[in-house]
């Protein structure tokens, strides 16, 4: 299931957020999108999920442009979890997870035996089975996030897109979510694309990193290739030390912000 963008330009009403971006999402791997606030990560994810049509260029899933997929057929292939979704009043955990089976159900047909089994599996997988009959809004932020992820994996799509799945969670819950995703990736061969703010988490849990700045692709490759002091100072304006860990993944230690003068010096060095 290949997912590729070809020279897409995206934006809202009168502002262009992403300009001429081409990227190929590696299959069955975990890809992390990194970049400063407002660089177009969320917009790119919405474009990949077919929620926002590019103004120019196209997004291609399995050699077919997204607009030629029907909504339902697309939902069978790509699941998307927006940033901080709001659970509707009074929805129970099981109900919400069951909505993930919507693309499998016909106009008037309700849940089949298989649907129910998948829902149970998804709830077990995300560790929320014992909350199944509680209202979603009664749960904590981390638990709610797991409910949403359960809904997304109950969709059994091969590509899972997540917009900052760890935001608003405490440290432990953040790692829990990331570990869950990496397990699903290993066991089911799930392709995961997520935007992350924490670079060390991105390095630790992803196989591939895409760095963006102002709607442009800056760098892509393995974490070691992408997460370098040069990139950090350019994209985040942060002076940082990057040290390799035992497992080979890079680890960043911030030392301070980069002033304009430092940047000038750095670019001179590059020229030299």
């Amino acid at each position: 299931m290949s997912l590729v963008t070809q020279h897409i330009q995206m934006g809202y009403a009168d502002s262009i957020v992403i300009d001429d971006l081409s990227v190929k999402i590696p299959q069955q791997q975990i890809t992390a999108l990194i970049g400063p606030n407002g660089c177009g990560k969320s917009t790119l994810l919405r474009g990949l999920a077919g929620l926002l049509a590019p103004q120019r260029g196209q997004v291609v899933l399995q050699n077919k442009a997204l607009p030629s997929w029907s909504r339902q057929a697309l939902a069978l292939q790509v699941a998307m979890l927006p940033q901080k979704p709001v659970a509707p009043d009074g929805a129970l955990v099981r109900q919400l997870v069951n909505y993930g089976r919507f693309p499998y159900q016909g106009l008037l047909r309700s849940a089949s035996r298989e649907d129910l089994e998948v829902v149970e599996w998804a709830m077990k997988r995300t560790g929320i089975a014992h909350y199944a009959d509680k209202p979603v809004q009664a749960l904590s932020g981390g638990e709610q996030q797991r409910v949403w992820i359960a809904m997304a994996i109950a969709q059994q799509a091969q590509i899972l897109l997540l917009d900052e799945p760890t935001t608003y969670l405490d440290w432990g819950h953040q790692l829990e979510i990331l570990e869950l995703l990496s397990q699903l990736n290993r066991e089911q061969g799930l392709t995961v694309v997520m935007s992350l703010h924490d670079l060390n988490q991105a390095a630790q849990y992803s196989d591939y990193v895409i760095a963006m700045e102002q709607g442009q692709l800056i760098a892509q490759g393995t974490p070691v290739q992408v997460i370098t002091p040069q990139l950090l100072s350019r994209v985040f304006k942060v002076r940082a030390q990057v040290v390799p860990q035992d497992n080979g993944k890079p680890y960043c230690i911030a030392q301070g912000t980069v002033s304009a003068a430092d940047l000038a010096v750095a670019s001179e060095k590059e020229v030299a």
Partner: protein, 324 residues
């Protein structure tokens, strides 16, 4: 599930009780034995006429009107995710009644077509309201204010028509107050299919309704064509509202208040929430109609007055407490 079953039973029991009570009271007061005789076919002709020709159709209409308005309100509030979107406040009712007043006073159109005509007017006014309120997104209060403006415009033109129509002015004025007085089998026949079929369709599509209550992006990534289904649901709501307006005139606040109450009693995500809301609406409207008939006996207060007096203060309270 159990809880809702208990509520449903309670409401149905109340409904039956009220229905029977509404058959008994009025100018011709009957007793339960009278009713029993009537069922056996031994009542006086007068009693027969009173029950079969006057009270039963009127009660049925009350049930239809209440269920339709409550469902329409529930749908509008749900799919726009807006606690103030209701047929009355979005100008749909005013648009429908304006077109109906126009047709009645200027061309005297056949009553069978009034629901369809009201539908056109309701859609026109509803679209206008949503278009005017749209500003990148829809804020609840903005919808209401745009609705107020559309309503004021429709009402002003209706008033002008009313004044020119001369002899019918008084009748039309009371029709514009909303009510079921003098409505009979004819009105039931004219309107029931405009109400029942859209309502059943909306009940059948409950799964899509529930998804529309979610975030747009989520519903879309679950494979729902959000825009198309939202439009369909809104059209169903407008159709039901227009049918109600064509038989009972503009009856306010029911579509706004009932869904809020039923949301408190039963989770909006419950598969039977819409039917439950309809049932609740039917019950409350039957109650209101009974009040309209009895509270100023032997005269009758327009039903719209009763619903405004019941629903208005409640809405004021809601605004004061802050809409979430």
């Amino acid at each position: 599930m159990l809880l809702s079953l208990r509520y449903c039973l309670l409401i149905v029991a109340l409904l039956v009780l009220l229905f029977v009570a509404a058959l008994l009271v009025g100018h011709q007061t009957l007793t339960v034995p009278d009713l029993w005789l009537l069922v056996q076919g031994q009542a006086t002709p007068l009693q027969k006429i009173v029950v079969w020709e006057l009270r039963i159709p009127r009660n049925l209409l009350a049930l239809l009107v209440g269920a339709a308005l409550a469902t329409a309100g529930a749908i509008m509030q749900g799919v726009t995710r807006n606690p103030l979107a209701s047929p009355g406040l979005t100008g749909v009712v005013a648009g429908a009644s304006f077109v109906i007043v126009l047709l009645v006073s200027v061309w005297s159109v056949d009553a069978h077509w009034l629901p369809a005509a009201g539908f056109v007017g309701g859609i026109g006014a509803g679209c206008l309201t949503f278009y005017l309120a749209w500003q990148g997104r829809l804020l609840p209060l903005r919808i209401v204010l745009a609705g107020v403006a559309v309503t004021a415009l429709c009402a002003a033109i209706s008033t002008a028509l009313l004044l020119f129509s001369g002899a019918e002015a008084g009748d039309l004025f009371f029709w514009l107050a909303g009510g079921l007085s003098g409505r009979g089998w004819l009105q039931v026949e004219q309107s029931w299919y405009w109400i029942v079929f859209p309502m059943l369709l909306s009940f059948a599509l409950v799964q899509r309704f529930n998804l529309l209550l979610l975030d747009d992006d989520i519903a879309r990534s679950l494979g729902l064509a959000v825009g198309r289904w939202r439009l369909l649901f809104l059209l169903l709501a407008v159709l039901m509202t227009a049918a109600v307006v064509s038989v009972a005139g503009p009856v306010g606040f029911v579509g706004l208040v009932i869904p809020h109450i039923s949301k408190r009693l039963l989770s909006q995500q419950h598969p039977f929430w819409l039917p439950f809301t309809a049932l609740l609406g039917a019950l409350i409207l039957l109650c209101a109609d009974l009040l309209a008939r009895l509270s100023a006996f032997p005269q009758e207060i327009p039903l719209g007055v009763i619903t405004a007096l019941l629903g208005g203060p409640w809405l004021l309270l809601l605004i004061r407490r802050g809409l979430n």
